[in-house]
Symmetry: C2
Amino acid sequence: MENTASITTSQVITPAELLEHWQGHRRVTRRVIEAFPEDAFFNHSIGGMRTFSVLVMELLAIGVPGLREIVEGKREVFNENLKHDNKKETFLKLWDETTEGINTYWAQLKPERFQENVTLFGEYEGTVWSQIFYFIENEIHHRGQGYVYLRSLGIEPPLFYVRN
Amino acid sequence: MENTASITTSQVITPAELLEHWQGHRRVTRRVIEAFPEDAFFNHSIGGMRTFSVLVMELLAIGVPGLREIVEGKREVFNENLKHDNKKETFLKLWDETTEGINTYWAQLKPERFQENVTLFGEYEGTVWSQIFYFIENEIHHRGQGYVYLRSLGIEPPLFYVRN
């Protein structure tokens, strides 16, 4: 990435590495969506928790809007009630659009901004790095729940450590 | 931390921030262990998955040994079959010892090492940062499973975003 020129080799993690790391996790989550039977994706739940489709709507509501607010500084609305047609295919399409959107906005994120404090969705305060870590870790957290949903359906989830 | 003197403000995340972030997640996981009824911690499972006590043994087998191998370079044995007395209290004690151990070894981890490649437990290759991210994210993943176990028992899990 051209905008990492000021980063030295003593970086813990570079912006380019963090983007690739995030997208790697998103590829795993995409495989979890694919692994769900169509009906279970929209209806299966344990202990009164949200279905995996509802969890995925949360993730879609965070990814591009959250990163766009970091980059552009204009307050975004947190909207996890996506209009959809109860088809997994639609979610996968939205997932792939988010992949592109994240790449696009990331290219506009200056490396010196990661330590800056920002407020997202009018509510959540923290450094840029902590916001992005939250996006990634919230996805891992909910995906871990999806793994249990799949196992309870007798389905082997994708491997956690394969990210390509 | 004294050894972060060479790190500029253009760091995505500093070593000290990453340590605090990890320990923050570990505090959440500790509260998840506490939230389990004694019996369920050792016996409850869904879909043939491991019990939460077994998952916690995995986390204990990774934290200090993994970080120590990064710092000292001596091959560690991955041993997730801890001897224990089927008491949650023992796990909480081991958890707190790991908290101290992580702080101790982290203080010896030089910031320029995060981009270095290492092999852990004779098997897992990657940069130091990616190894540490794996430790943290593997914990989030398994803890997300623990949240479902708790919900399936009718127990409200600790808040994901409270890290103090």
